[in-house]
Structures are given as structure tokens and as C-alpha cells.
Amino acid sequence: MSSTSTNLSNADVLKIAKLAHITLKDEEINTLATELSSIISYIGKLDELDTSSVAPMNQVTGLRNVTRGDEITPETVLTQEEALSNAPQKKNNLFEVDAVFDND
């Protein structure tokens, strides 16, 4: 990471959007390029710090390997009806999604 500021191009923005599954309108792309560039330049300030001898910290609890028995916890089981209750598209009591394969 260089310590000069980051300048994202419109193409960069579209690439990030694709990775993030976000669709952008044409008029948004320019603004996002500017905004994201300034935020990314700002967060790049961490480059000033020497962290070569530090371990990364993923979470602050210090807990490790928290497990539970392989048992059903009834209070977290939803009926099929409950599970489907917010589905925008259902078919045969299943969630309906876009086709993954083309039908030739």
C-alpha cells in the first residue's frame, strides 16, 4: 500500500460492485469513485504504523473452540411454513431461485 492517496477509476468501482453483487446506476459511479477514494486514502494512514511484531486480533473475548453437542435445540427449529413465511417466491414448499444452469 503506498502512502499516496488512492484514486479509484470508474472501472475499479464497477469491479468492486460486481464482487459485492451491487448494481449501480450510471450517475452513481462517479460519486462513488470520489467518495470511496477519499475513504480508502484515509484508512490507508495505518501504513504509518510498524506492526511487524504484532499478531492480528480477530475477536476480543479470548474464547477459543466454543462448541456444543450435536443436538437439536427445539427453540431454534422453524417449521417449513415459518421458514417460508417471508419468501418472495416459493414453489412446492421450497424457495424459488433463478436458474443456475441453462436448459438446452
Partner: protein, 482 residues
Amino acid sequence: MINTRDLTIKGTLELLKKKEISVEELVSSCLNIIESKNPEINAVLTVNENALDEAQQFSNLTPLRPRLREGAAISQFNNKPLLGIPIILKDAYSTKGLRTTAASKVLENYIPPFDATVVKKLKEAGAIILGKANMDAWAHGSSGENSDFGPTKNPYDLSRTPGGSSSGSAAALAAGMSLASTGTDTGGSIRLPASFTNLVGLKPTYGRVSRYGIIAMGSSFDSIGHFTKDVYDNALILSVTAGHDSLDGTTSKLDVPKYHLKLETSMRGKKIGIVKEFTHSGIDSKVDEVTQKTIKTMERLGGEFIEVSLPHVEYAIETYYILVPAEVSSNLGRMTGTRFGKGRELFGDEAKRRIMIGTYTLSSGYYDAYYNKALKVRTRIKQDFDQAFEKVDALLCPVSPTLPFKLGEKANDPLAMYLSDIFVAPMNLAGVPALSVPAGSVEGLPVGIQFVTKQFDEQLLYQVAYAYEQARGPIENLKINT
């Protein structure tokens, strides 16, 4: 009608036990205030239509039936420490059968099929859920202006924000719509609104309160807390919500004390740290005056002030805005509109920014330079706090660098908005608990002060805050304007 603006939970429970008011009257009064004031302040997104029916389950406790034994009535209160208390929940809390939106159009019609663990606990304690509060969409924000359903207004000054992201929760309680409200604090989202609305706001230790069922923002940061009018009420609610949950693997197995029963402690000899790095961060001079007054109050109580250094706190915002958007981009990946909710094209501007920042910093070629780097700085920040707590019992810090700001003032400058969090975000990086307590007023606007202790030391946190609150006395020159 009951004047709910001036009632505390403690006071209300006494009135209920003595049968001077009924739960139905209490819930009715709150619902009336919601109906009359919500159009003006936009604090509540969804009202629980069954609230009055739920209140009626407690109607046989407030006799009218003169033969009900005094002892029997009181014992029901012992089993239900929040019996009849009307509470509003931030709309990030899943409530079974009651719409939950996270203030986003994506979840505009989402009705959860389950309750969050904290919601279950509050209900089991006898609380009545009145409704769901407005917020910055997905908890992304410090002012409430990122809500997809319009901003919430500060009841003390309708031209100003109540702070965010738990904007509606703070405004609703300040306006008297409930007797407590819940929030989430990932980078200050309870403490900042508490400071802006003259309330006590808790960010508990990360892992003290279960996150199960609460719409996730940054899963290693989200702290599940609440707003009340005073320290006693706040401690009482934590004694209900805290505890290990097998459904949240990050929760602690440590016992949960009855925090509210052990508040009185002498401050004589207690060491209180002032953070050196916070004294040269651009803070409004009038806000700083309130901090200085608070220090004098604590000194009169016998507190010894020591300067401590948290050297890496200068990089806290940068670290936060790498790690949290990264976790956000992962968590919001589940909003696909397949199993629930609508499509991703309905994400607002701030959500899109954060998802995209997160995607960028996690992507191949950038992960080490940004995300992994930030994780290392996080270690340093946590070490800074650990070392400080070897020297002092608690920290005293400001909450906000400014007075409650005007609606629209920072809305067009994402970075300026992020800098509102300079005094509050570091605590989320370290996982420590912190409490915002009303400390004064400036130009008719509330200003809070922040106490911080080490992880799982909420009992001391409440003791210090309680001592301060008792010594401070009533806050002058503040008026609700709705």
C-alpha cells in the same frame, strides 16, 4: 394519563406494587404519546398492536381485587423484575410476528419468525414491547439520517439529530414514549445518542449480552445495550439481558450480578484516567467545559485523576473503518432477496459505500495491506486499554466532540460523520464496557460524559457512574420541545 417523561423504572415498579397505577394505564399513556408525538419526531417505525392486550395479562396484579394477598402481588414482581414496564426496541432486534426492518427498504415487509434472545429475556421479565424504533439503516451512521424511512428528530431541538445509529430509541425514550429502550453499539451507536438526548446509555462488554437474533453489523464489534433515564434503571436492565447464551458462541459464562443492588460505593481512592490523546482532539470548548466540571465533581468525591496514554487511539477510526465495513460486507451478503426481504438494489447510499469499502479491503491483493493490518492495530489498541487499566480503575472521557449537530450538517460528508465517533469507537475495538451519563447542558442541548472500565467490570462502571449521578444532581436548562 400518566406523565411517563418523568418516571423511572424504579419509581414505576413502586407505583405498580402499591397499585397507584395499572400496567394498562401505563401502556395506554405511552401509546398515546407515540400517537401524538411520533409524526413530529419519527422515532417509532412499527407499533405493537397487541401491547394493550399484553398489558392485560397483568391486570390481576393491580387489584381492584382487594382479596389478593399483598405477598402474592409482590412475589410476582420478584419473578419478573421488569413487570409491566413498556420498552421500545431498536429495529435491529428480531421480534417474532412484529415487523423488523433495520430501517432499510430491503426489509420493509420482513416479519421475523423468531425472537432475539434479548427480546425473549425482556418478555420473560415481564416487559411490554411497545414497538420498534427508527435507526440509521443497518446501524450505519451516527445521526439517524441514513434511515430509509426518514430521519428522527431530537426532542430537545427538532432541528437537530438525536445521534445515531440508535436514533429512534433515544428520541422515543426522551419523549416519554416508553420507560426504556434498546440499542446496539458497534462504534458508539448507543453512547452518542444517549449524550445527545440526556439519557444513560450502555455499551456492555462485547460478549456480555447475546447478539442472537439481532441483525448483525460488525459481528466482532456489536454490543447489545440500552437506554434509560438513570443509572439504577440501566443496571437493572443489564441484570436481565446479560448472560451466557448457547446460541451466541461469543457470550461469556461469567455470572450476572444484580448490578442495581450494589451501586453505592465510595469513590475515595478510586483512580480515574484521563486519556492524553483525547485532550488534543478537536473538541468544542463548551463541551470540554462540561468534561472539566465532571472531573471536579469526581475529585470532590475522592477520585484521583491520572493521565493515561492510549497511543494507538489516534488510528482508531481508520482501523474501525477497515474492519467494520469488511464485516458489514460479509453480513449483508445474506440479503439476497431469496429467503426473505427485497433485492440488493434497495440498499441506500451509506450501505453501498460500506459494503464496497469492505469488499475492496478484503479482496485479493488488498487483504494484507488493509484488513490484516487493521487486525494488528486492533491488537495494539486493546493492549493500550489493558495497560491503562493496570494503572486506573476507570476512564473518564467525552462522548462527542460537538454539541448535538443540525440535521443535514454532516450528511453530505461521510468522513466528517465518521469523525463523530473519535471518543467512542476505540472502546468497541477493545471490547470494553462504557456508559454515557448526562453531565450538563449547553445552549439548551444535552451533553453527556463517558465512563469506561475493563472487560466485564460493569459493576464498577455502574458504581462510578452512580456516584457521579448522585453528586451531579438535576440537570438544569433542558426542555423537551415536542
